[in-house]
């Protein structure tokens, strides 16, 4: 007798995926025991047999080997249909699966890597997406452990067959590691952390050219790990010894800054369910009617304090991966900037708030009209502008943070960031996102220091343009008052830790001795 596939609740409507697999299993059960019939199934029978075998694998742990042998014997499509069924289960019903079925699922996913089943990389990506950031429940840590093991155990095969999936894993585990480091240690978590570190360090040390495919968000994730000794040395090499990575296309960290990160990566840290709800919110819900939806979303996904780091991932998702059509932008649907305002207000921890702001402005720092997408920078701009009438403190704190980033994010590349931010502002005006920057520079309620800072940025633009012609000094800008006592320490704390690893060579030398 097969066990259940999913936990059925009393008022839950029948689950279509579960029922289609179960029906196939019930129908074909007699044929699932050896000796297996030798007849060749037609297409429909083949699909049905795949469903039945899958149900057997997931619900009859005692017969797993038999079912898998059966699958190997009948397969004619490179496991493509079987893998697509698995993908569907992981995407749609993973959370509802009974524990034993989850175990079986991970086991059979491994098998699909071994046989190089068509689409196994997508299956692994789906599993990565089911690991929830900020979720320290046993089940979630278990999944994390199992999946990082797959990536370590199958390293050679993955590297040869689907190297890009390794970059997805790196993005995921760097991000999860930051959460896991905040967890008070126990034996299990410690082991998990070690595996995550082992995988990430191996990637960075052995396959750096592959890691570069992630682009600039790789640096953003590494910032959260500066405090780990394993990553501190990586930071030192990134900043001072790029040659250590033996990657010809990497001679300076700015080369990574210039690579925009594909939206594929920001999707990795959002479960499919979160993605569905966020996209619904930003596609169908009218501005003014969002309150209940926001509460439901928060209750489901952000309910515990440790979940708060997810907000950073959500902001990154909204900036980079959810780009509404012009029709929606011109409609009365909740705009992205308003959702960002809600998310920003939901932060209770200062380091999360700093990371959320960094997530909003990250693409500003390196903005290049030719390579970057204006949609990534639009929400932060509109949030600053639309906050002026009622929430000027939001405008202040965002603009202040932006300048702090320009000054402190990477002191060896201030010019790059000043140029990035300047071209971000310029393109936002050119493309009509805002009519003119007067809305900020002539805003009565905006602090004179910030207005002055903006004016200097814009006047510096001429200097940058002329730089090629005459290598004169750029007016060096430093506005220490921004980092003065009136600045909330949370912001400076956030930023100074960002730039800490490679501020001065001498301090790095000291660090090494420590």
């Amino acid at each position: 007798m097969a066990s259940k596939l999913i936990n059925v609740e009393s008022y839950q409507a029948e689950n279509k995926i579960e029922s289609s697999l179960r029906r196939a299993f019930e129908l074909l059960e007699p044929k699932l025991r050896p000796p297996f019939p030798l007849s060749i199934p037609n297409l429909e029978e083949y699909a049905e047999l795949n469903r039945a075998i899958l149900y057997g694998v997931l619900c009859e742990p005692n017969f797993t080997k038999t079912h898998l042998k059966h699958l190997h014997a009948i397969v004619t499509d490179g496991y493509s249909f079987f893998v697509s069924l698995l993908v569907n289960i992981v995407r749609e019903v993973y959370n509802k699966l009974v524990d034993s079925a989850k175990k079986q699922l991970v086991w059979v996913a491994r098998e699909m890597v071994d046989v190089l089943g068509v689409g196994f990389d997508e299956l692994l990506v789906c599993l990565l997406r089911q690991i929830v950031g900020g979720d320290f429940t046993k089940g979630n840590l278990w999944l994390c452990f199992e999946v990082v093991k797959i990536f370590l155990d199958k390293w050679d095969c993955l590297l040869e067959e689907e190297p890009l999936v390794l970059t997805s894993a790196l993005y995921t585990f760097l991000r999860l590691l930051a959460d896991h480091c905040r967890l008070s240690s126990n034996g299990e978590v410690e082991m998990l952390k070690q595996l995550e570190i082992q995988f990430c360090v191996k990637m960075l040390r052995e396959q750096f050219s592959l890691c570069m495919r992630i682009g600039r968000d790789l640096i953003r994730l590494l910032l959260d790990l500066v405090h780990l000794p394993e990553f501190r040395v990586i930071w030192r090499d990134l900043a001072l010894n790029p040659g250590e990575f033996t990657t010809p296309q990497f001679s300076d960290i700015s080369e990574l800054y210039r690579l925009r990160t594909s939206s594929r990566y920001s999707l990795l840290r959002i479960t499919p369910e979160m993605e569905t709800q966020l996209r619904f919110l930003l596609t169908h819900v009218k501005l003014g009617s969002q309150r209940r939806y926001q509460e439901w979303f928060a209750k489901k996904f952000l309910f515990a304090p440790e979940r708060e780091t997810l907000i950073v991932d959500i902001v990154r998702f909204i900036c980079c991966a959810h780009h509404p059509s012009n029709d929606i932008i011109q409609s009365d649907v909740l705009p992205r900037w308003a959702a960002m305002g809600w998310l920003l207000k939901s932060c209770t921890k200062s380091y999360v708030e700093a990371n959320v702001k960094l997530a909003m402005f990250y693409d500003w720092l390196f903005f290049n009209e030719r390579a970057d997408n204006i949609m990534n920078i639009e929400p932060a701009m509109l949030l600053m502008v639309y906050s002026i009438p009622k929430y000027i403190d939001v405008t202040h704190s965002l603009l202040e943070f932006l300048f702090l980033l320009v000054d402190n994010f990477d002191m060896n590349h201030n010019d790059l960031m000043r140029t990035g931010v300047l071209s971000a502002f310029t393109v936002l005006v050119q493309k009509g996102v805002v009519r003119s920057l007067d809305v900020l520079t002539s805003c009565d309620s905006l602090s004179p220091i910030l207005k002055e800072r903006l004016r200097r940025l814009f006047s510096a633009s001429e200097a940058i343009v002329h730089k090629d012609l005459q290598p004169a000094h750029l007016p060096h800008q430093s506005i220490p008052s921004l980092v003065g006592p009136e600045t909330p320490t949370m912001i400076t704390a956030g930023v100074s830790s960002l730039s800490f690893p490679y501020k001065r060579k001498s301090s790095l030398a000291n660090m090494q001795e420590v």
């Binding site: 609740e9 009393s10 008022y11 839950q12 409507a13 569905t276 709800q277 619904f280 169908h284 819900v285 003014g288 009617s289 309150r291 209940r292 939806y293 509460e295 439901w296 979303f297 209750k299 489901k300």
Partner: protein, 138 residues
Amino acid sequence: MQFLKDIVPAAQNNINTKFILLDKGRITMEGQNKTCLALVADETAAVHFQLWGDECDYFESGDIIHLIDGIFSYNRSSSLVLRAGRRGKIEKVGEFTMVFVETPNMSEIRWVPDPNNPKIYVQESIIAPHSRMFTPML
């Protein structure tokens, strides 16, 4: 499947519809049974829904619910409510992804028998544009 704006009070279990649960009131006892009033809505209208027994604990705001063979009528405390009743049932079919309006609220309408056909109720007047029990969240 009916829209909520089209439901009319009647002593029949014939309403099939889908809605999202917006808010739940306090659970109270009616004899041996738990009961709880809720605000539900679809894209056309809202209405008060009476949850019964275990339904009160199971369903939460944000749930998308399919009502099969429900009834829209006056309950024991003379309020006009939609409910599954003894012959109907409700099932959770999803979460979150449904748009809704909070006005009109079909429970906040005064209905009177149709002068031409006293078996049918027709709308006489609007008592309140929104639920007076569950105020809109702005």
